[in-house]
Subunit: 310 residues, 2 copies
């Protein structure tokens, strides 16, 4: 088991896109700056979707430009398609992820593309990235969404996920990520699927899990992921967010609780957990009345716990 | 990893003792009967503490007598001392547990006994059990409370826990249990401590973890326990409860979520998760307005999940 674990904060994208209110651009900047200052080294700051669909994300290009001024921060964005990827490249994002739903019904309902059309999109984006001068190429990740089950189709066969992961890598993605869009994952399944996908595409092509806490198993699934060599976990401050296209499937794992667990286990996140309290306050002030989740923010850290990561 | 896992429901004791309201004897019986009917095979039904201290537990002898009529149910009780153990034996409990705080400060504050005095109590109870005719001896367990840290002392050294566990077994306890009274445990610590205590007292003398979800790590700690051969987990319906003597340390892990996780992982609890909903309703009706926790009761089980355990 590695001792350094990266947290990729997805709240400014996955969190904000799931609520109807629009956070002001200034508040987003304050959030991102404070969280980077607390030691978070990767933040998904927004999504290049049409502003008509998600007005919360209309300022993503401005947010990317701002986030790139923060030292040591990898600036990630979500892109739904080739058009979004063009905008991400133009904005200069360090990393872009496209969701690729393992459930074909969910993919068609969500982005009106079947699996073959999605693989074509991935190939087109990968080609666009490859054509850029070296040093200007964003890291291109494919998020294998609904990998642990779908609210329309139910369980997705492991071999279907493995096959689609292979197709994504063959199409030119640098990396895949397993996403529990629906909060269906359990620890045994996480171990099994991480192992299968790593075996198929290469261990270094799957480093990240995107987990939800819909059924309370988020951190249990992290433990399983750690034991299978996962080194990056997506999470959201205050558990803000979820997938608006998967009914009933809300709730990213909570950054505060995740950092506490990893640090308590003796792993290193580089994140100062006390300073995450300041970040949480910025979000609470900017979205008054919006529910924020998490256990550690209420209970505090244990007596004798070292608050500052080494 | 074994495939059959036992859930020991502690709500009627740990849950009810932590709230100020008194559940009626009839409601307790309805709860216990419904949960046994759902497939739970061990329930801690009450505590033989002085009724002046915990009026919620005044009817424990009557509840034990009732619970013993339920087929296939192991009826457990908590006993704080020799006097309580006498009452438990008289009532005919199948199992009795005495809390033994690994933090000497907590032990003195809680039951006014230092470690040496507690080991004497354990030895006296064990001798009383041994003197009973065969077939009438309750299973005598020592709960190593505050094992994962104490709100007064902070971390407790592993070697202190191992030494006290050895003393409890040497004094005649059949078994020890590791209890995260304060909700301080993390998965790495669970693995380390289970391994150390099993190595010291024998693998078959530590089968149970009593975990809290105070910091959201309860199910993550279950995963670590499973991987170290733990076969019984305490939990509470709706997460009712906690330890009234450890400030800020509330919240047993939630039976509903635990059963879901284990069954989803392909382990067998023998519990019908749909019928746990009926049990929850009995508790909600008997304690209107009392907070009940859990994710699965809100989110439901995933589409395609087999609800009835094999």
């Amino acid at each position: 088991m590695t001792t350094h674990i990266r947290i990729s904060e997805v709240g400014p994208r996955d969190g904000l896109q799931s609520i109807s209110r629009v956070m002001s651009t200034d508040a987003k900047k304050a959030w991102i700056a404070a969280e980077a200052a607390a030691g978070v080294t990767e933040i998904e700051v927004g999504s290049f979707v049409p502003p008509s669909l998600l007005p919360q994300m209309a300022d993503t290009a401005e947010i990317v430009a701002f986030a790139k001024t923060l030292p040591g921060l990898d600036v990630a964005v979500l892109v739904p398609n080739l058009k979004g990827a063009e905008r991400a490249i133009k904005a200069g994002a360090h990393k872009m992820s496209i969701p690729f739903s393992m459930s074909e019904s969910h993919s068609i309902r969500n982005v009106r593309k079947d699996h073959a059309a999605m693989v074509e999109q991935i190939a087109a984006i990968a080609a666009m990235v490859a054509a850029l001068p070296e040093g200007q190429r964003p890291h291109f990740e494919v998020g294998l969404s609904t990998a642990f089950g779908c609210t329309i189709e139910g369980p997705i066969p492991d071999d279907q996920i493995v096959r689609l992961a292979e197709q994504a890598i063959a199409a030119g993605a640098a990396e895949v990520c397993l996403s529990d869009t629906t909060g269906y994952a359990n620890p045994a399944q996480v171990r099994r699927l991480v192992r299968a996908v790593k075996a198929a595409v290469g261990a270094d092509r799957l480093n990240t899990l995107h987990l939800h806490n819909t059924r309370g198993l988020g951190l249990a699934n992290v433990v399983a992921g750690l034991e299978e060599g996962i080194t990056t976990f997506d999470s959201s401050m205050g558990g803000l967010g979820g997938c608006p296209f998967a009914p009933g499937a809300s709730g990213n794992i909570v950054t505060e609780d995740l950092v506490f667990m990893l640090e308590a286990m003796g792993l290193h996140t580089g994140i100062d957990i006390a300073r995450l309290g300041d970040v949480r306050q910025i979000i609470a002030d900017a979205l008054p009345g919006e529910p924020l989740y998490g256990f550690v923010p209420d209970a505090g850290v244990p007596l004798g716990f070292e608050r500052v990561a080494a």
